[in-house]
């Protein structure tokens, strides 16, 4: 085929040119609307040279390392509170190694905002809550179509911070994601109740019933609200007193958030 050296050398340049022609093909794959591009995006900042180098060395084996670290995290987890602090670094590394490891993000955020929060000195508590929020937001950035992290973030605002007004749009976002469990709609209704948006709350409960007639939680909520709002003579103050007595509404407490959270990339 190639009889001489000179002839062979002449083939090298066209071969190199062909590599350039392959590039548009690779770009065609990456830009295909069906290509899972969220799995092929930079997960660390290129200015963090050392981390980029580690990622490069690991090649396509990052999920394997992440899974092995997950086992280590599990070991610390069961070693009690002394392991709680050690686990933070491991969870952070797991999330960097495999940013699509939903359970790792979920555990990491929960660990910051609940476990370590409980263990931390008072002055540090707001920072750990903010760290939890940052973890969930970072996880959502990599997994925008998964409901789990939206749900965790909404729950953090709802249950821990008790900032129901901020939780409402996050619960709504959660509901837009596929496979979202039924109780998420209930949580949205509770949020409306807690922010005293009774009409919206009742509308959501009725929507739950429309979707599933056997939803007994929604059924009892609708019945309860019908009973309470039946008497037109009741003033809002009276209604509030009843709600408070029956523990239907949780007052917002809005735990303070930190201006400077811990650095969660």
């Amino acid at each position: 085929m190639f009889s001489g050296h000179r002839r062979g050398r002449r083939v090298i340049l066209p071969a190199l040119a062909l590599f350039v022609l392959v590039y548009p093909m690779q770009q065609r794959i990456v830009k295909d609307p069906h290509y899972p591009s969220e799995y092929n995006q930079p997960i660390v900042n290129i200015r963090e040279g050392g981390t980029v180098a580690i990622m490069a060395m690991l090649g396509g084996f990052r999920p394997l390392v992440a899974n092995l670290l997950w086992l280590k995290a599990d070991q610390y987890w069961h070693s009690g509170a002394s392991g709680w602090w050690r686990i933070v670094g491991i969870l952070q590394t797991i999330c960097e190694m495999d940013p699509h490891f939903i359970d790792a993000w979920s555990t990491f955020g929960w660990h910051c905002a609940w476990n370590i929060y409980a263990d931390a000195p008072d002055q540090d508590k707001p920072r750990w809550i903010q760290a939890g929020i940052d973890v969930y937001k970072r996880g959502i950035y990599f997994n925008p179509n998964r409901y789990e992290l939206w749900k965790d973030l909404a729950w953090l605002y709802h249950d821990k911070i008790r900032d129901y007004q901020s939780a409402i749009p996050i619960w709504k976002e959660t509901l837009k994601r596929p496979d979202c469990p039924i109780y998420v709609r209930h949580m949205l209704a509770h949020c409306y109740e807690n922010t005293w948006q009774v009409d919206k709350a009742i509308a959501v409960w009725k929507d739950c019933l429309r979707r599933d007639k056997r939803d007994y939680v929604a059924r009892s909520a609708v019945d309860w609200w019908n009973e309470q709002t039946a008497s037109k003579a009741r003033t809002n103050t009276e209604l509030l007193r009843i709600l408070d007595r029956e523990n239907r509404i949780r007052k917002s407490r809005r735990l303070p958030l930190a201006e400077q959270p811990f650095s969660i990339r």
Binding site: M1, F2, M25, R28, H34, A56
Partner: protein
């Protein structure tokens, strides 16, 4: 054409009789099975972990096999002087090289297929659910390994085996870091380094493009059209590398 198949058949027979390759394959299979034992301690997402570990194990052991075979296709034949006996017959160097490469790819295909079937079977035994979609993820892996074998074979035509192995791992790392190389090129202050990075990004293979494992593990459905593009990319890239390797092999004084 016939000579290519004869050489390929001999390469397959030779590779299958090698104890090193058998050990790699056995280790790969063992790793797959062991993975099912130490998942009991993982809280949640056991399914993801099993699939991740299995697919990554196949990739790791496939990569070791690809590099090992890529190195052992040409260089040992030259060192043992067996290549002269073959080339003395009416067999051209290109045919010799193609036959060797085809044999190596068949062994690779066989190994990846065996490990893939074991993974799917083991997952079925564990969860009573068939996951044939996992085999789709292995298509991208297989074509990445095909490119790797061709690249290592190309390097081994003019460099030592050790150099070819080192370059092989380097190509693998670069192939998975192309996204960062592209970013670095965009942010480079120095024009020379910018051009160098652009050339690297354009010419060197992009393995992360072919890696659909994480998406498949998360349950994403990859359409056949996209897989066809991936296959075309893998085949075209491999063809160019083999063409280059053939040129270098012709240039070599035997």
């Amino acid at each position: 054409m016939r000579s290519i198949f004869v050489i390929a058949r001999n390469t397959v027979a030779d590779a299958l009789s090698r104890i090193v390759l058998q050990i790699i394959l056995i280790f790969g299979l063992l790793f797959l099975v062991i993975g099912f034992f130490f998942t009991f301690m993982t809280p949640g997402e056991e399914d993801k972990m099993l699939k991740d570990l299995g697919l990554t194990a196949i990739t790791v052991f496939g990569l070791v096999m690809a590099i090992f075979m890529g190195v052992s296709l040409i260089q040992p034949e030259v060192e043992r002087r067996t290549v002269y006996a073959v080339l003395a017959k009416p067999v051209r160097r290109l045919e010799f090289m193609l036959g060797k490469y085809l044999g190596a790819v068949l062994v690779l295909l066989l190994s990846v297929a065996i490990m893939g079937v074991v993974l799917v079977g083991a997952l079925y035994l564990k969860q009573q659910v068939w996951n044939p979609g996992l085999l789709v993820a292995l298509i991208g892996t297989f074509f990445s390994l095909m490119i790797m074998t061709a690249l290592v074979m190309m390097i081994s035509t003019f460099a030592s085996s050790l150099m070819a192995v080192v370059c092989g791992f380097l190509f693998w790392s670069i192939g998975y870091s192309q996204i960062y190389i592209k970013q670095l090129a965009e942010h480079a202050d120095n024009q020379a380094s910018k051009y160098l990075l652009v050339v690297m990004n354009t010419i060197l293979p992009n393995f992360s493009t072919l890696d659909i494992r994480p998406a498949v593990v998360d349950g994403a459905i990859i359409p056949m059209g996209l897989i066809a593009w991936m296959v075309a990319y893998g085949l075209l890239y491999t063809t160019i590398v083999i063409a280059l390797a053939a040129v270098l092999f012709y240039e070599r004084e035997l």
